[in-house]
């Protein structure tokens, strides 16, 4: 545990002393809840359509595959015309593209970012590293199956996949969302214990709250 996360006694400017427990006081500890589709069918279908046509990707690249996302913003591939945009903050993003191998250190950040995204949210695994470890299958420091740690909606195979493959993958994701099958956030909430146990098994210096909002 890092020093700044330990319990300590702080003296306020007015001389009153009080105890601070950063993990408890600075974070909300409540676990995620399952949020089923709340509206009648037709409204929910409208929303699903809107969610599919307006996919905001979290700008977070993990492995070599991150380099294949950049061309999507350029004139040659221009993903914007499919309603796909990049957002710099997890709060506003809906889609988390895990772009390749995830070292354990990055996994920690990926989990925190994922948990800060708002329901409904989707995860796409890019490249063979996210499926079975790919060419890092015997590495001591990367995870092998992304699905054990975060609920993946869709894999895009290849090492590394071309931008066209990504575009095709996004179209497939849109189909899933429209059909109401991309419920990764709820799966995460339902299986929360299982995911947490898996995550804690590989992350040894676990110095964050169990759920970051």
């Amino acid at each position: 545990m890092k020093e700044e996360l330990e319990k300590r006694v702080v003296k306020g400017p007015d001389g009153v002393e009080f105890e601070v427990d950063p993990l408890r006081d600075y974070y909300c500890q409540s676990a995620p809840t399952v949020m089923p589709p709340a509206y009648i069918k037709i409204v929910e279908e409208l929303f699903n359509w809107a969610r599919a046509e307006s996919i905001w990707i979290l700008g977070f690249g993990t492995g070599c595959g991150a380099i294949e996302m950049r061309p999507l913003m350029t004139p040659r591939f221009d993903a914007y015309r499919y309603g796909i945009q990049w957002r710099p903050t997890p709060r506003q993003a809906n889609l988390f593209v895990i772009s390749g191998y995830l070292s354990v250190k990055t996994l920690k950040r990926a989990i925190r970012s994922y948990e800060q995204m708002q329901n409904p949210k989707y995860v796409v695994g890019l490249g063979s590293c996210t499926i079975n470890g790919g060419m890092y299958w015997d590495s001591y420091n990367t995870i092998k199956r992304l699905d054990d740690y975060l609920p993946v909606d869709l894999y895009i195979t290849g090492c590394m996949p071309r931008p066209e493959a990504l575009l095709a993958g996004f179209q497939e994701l849109k189909r899933l969302i429209r059909a109401g099958q991309a419920e990764g956030a709820n799966r995460y909430a339902e299986q929360f214990e299982w995911y947490k146990a898996n995550q804690k098994r590989v992350i040894h210096d676990w110095d964050m709250p169990d759920y970051n909002w």
Binding site: C28, M35, A38, L46, F47, A50, R51, E53, S54, T74, P75, D78, Y80, R81, G83, Q85, R87, P88, T89, R91, Q92, N94, Q118, N119, P120, W213
Partner: protein
């Protein structure tokens, strides 16, 4: 004072028209900017979809009351600005709730949203939000000075504080526009306009790359959707003020659309050509270039 109640639904109708026009115009401008970069750009109805999606997100978290009120303040800034200036000159239906002295109120509303946003985003506690706000407030303040001077100059010129009377004084041919009768005021105001539209070279506040989008970093779901609504209304409302003060107002909706588009395009054209200023550069730029013009405008009247 007797009040025509029918003005309220009329004002709401204006709001509705402007809201839709704003959404489409924003998308169109994003498309133009994309074409400059030789991209295809977003579909023209993309903003509607984004809006529906953000209202349709299932979860949202709050950081406290001010956080909650931030987008509300911002939206009321935009709506207020729109409602208290006449949109279409000479039409009772779209004169909105304008009254004598509304010029001062309009000035106030221009700043109102920024302040509300500052309070709200400050409570979100995100360091990027704090950086964005300090940048935003200093830049908007600097940009506001020449505009205020220009407005006072125009008010002196026409001896009134009512936007409708200013518009009325400019009717009858292009040469009656403030643009030609008081060019220095218009120049100062247009420079300040560049600064307040949050487009390059003055978009360091929301700095899409280095500090993830500044003040709204922590905003999401319906909060963000409220702010997007405001994004559609506020620029148009501001352009309407400019149009009324400097470019002779509009007497019909088609004319309104054309004029608003052209005035908006000024900032877009500048935006796609020039790279971004840092805050201290832009503050200096406003003080060196725009402010003297404003002072000259006041002195000449």
């Amino acid at each position: 004072m007797d009040f025509d109640w029918i003005r309220i639904p009329y004002a709401l109708l204006t709001l509705f028209i402007v809201f839709n026009y704003g959404l489409l115009l924003n998308a169109l401008i994003a498309k133009i900017a994309a074409r400059v970069g030789r991209r295809h750009g977003i579909p023209i109805w993309q903003n509607y979809i984004d809006l529906i999606k953000n209202y349709g997100l299932r979860s949202s978290i709050t950081h406290g009351a001010m956080y909650y009120l931030g987008p509300v303040f911002r939206l009321s800034g935009g709506v207020g600005l729109l409602l208290f200036v006449p949109t279409i000159h000479g039409s009772l239906m779209f004169a909105n709730l304008s009254f004598a002295g509304d010029l001062i109120l309009a000035l106030y509303f221009v700043f109102f949203g920024t302040l509300g946003m500052a309070l709200g985003a400050g409570e979100s506690g995100h360091p990027h939000a704090a950086i964005g706000i300090s940048r935003g407030l200093s830049q908007v303040t600097a940009a506001e000075l020449p505009f205020a001077l220009a407005v006072f100059s125009v008010a002196l010129q026409y001896q009134t504080l009512s936007v409708s009377e200013i518009v009325a004084a400019q009717q009858g041919g292009m040469l009656n526009w403030t643009l030609f009768t008081n060019p220095f005021a218009v120049a100062a105001a247009m420079l300040s306009f560049l600064g307040s539209m949050m487009r390059p070279p003055f978009d360091v506040v929301i700095a899409p790359q280095e500090i993830p989008i500044g003040p709204p970093t922590e905003y999401h779901s319906s909060y963000l959707a409220l702010m997007q609504t405001n994004r559609a209304i506020f620029p148009i409302a501001k352009v309407v003020v400019y149009m009324n003060l400097f470019f002779g107002g509009a007497t019909s909706w088609p004319l309104f659309c054309v004029k608003v588009f052209l005035i908006y395009m000024v900032s877009v054209l500048v935006g796609v050509v020039f790279p971004r200023f840092r805050v201290e550069q832009s503050v200096r730029w406003f003080l060196v270039w725009a402010l003297p013009l404003g002072v000259v405008a006041i002195l000449l009247v």
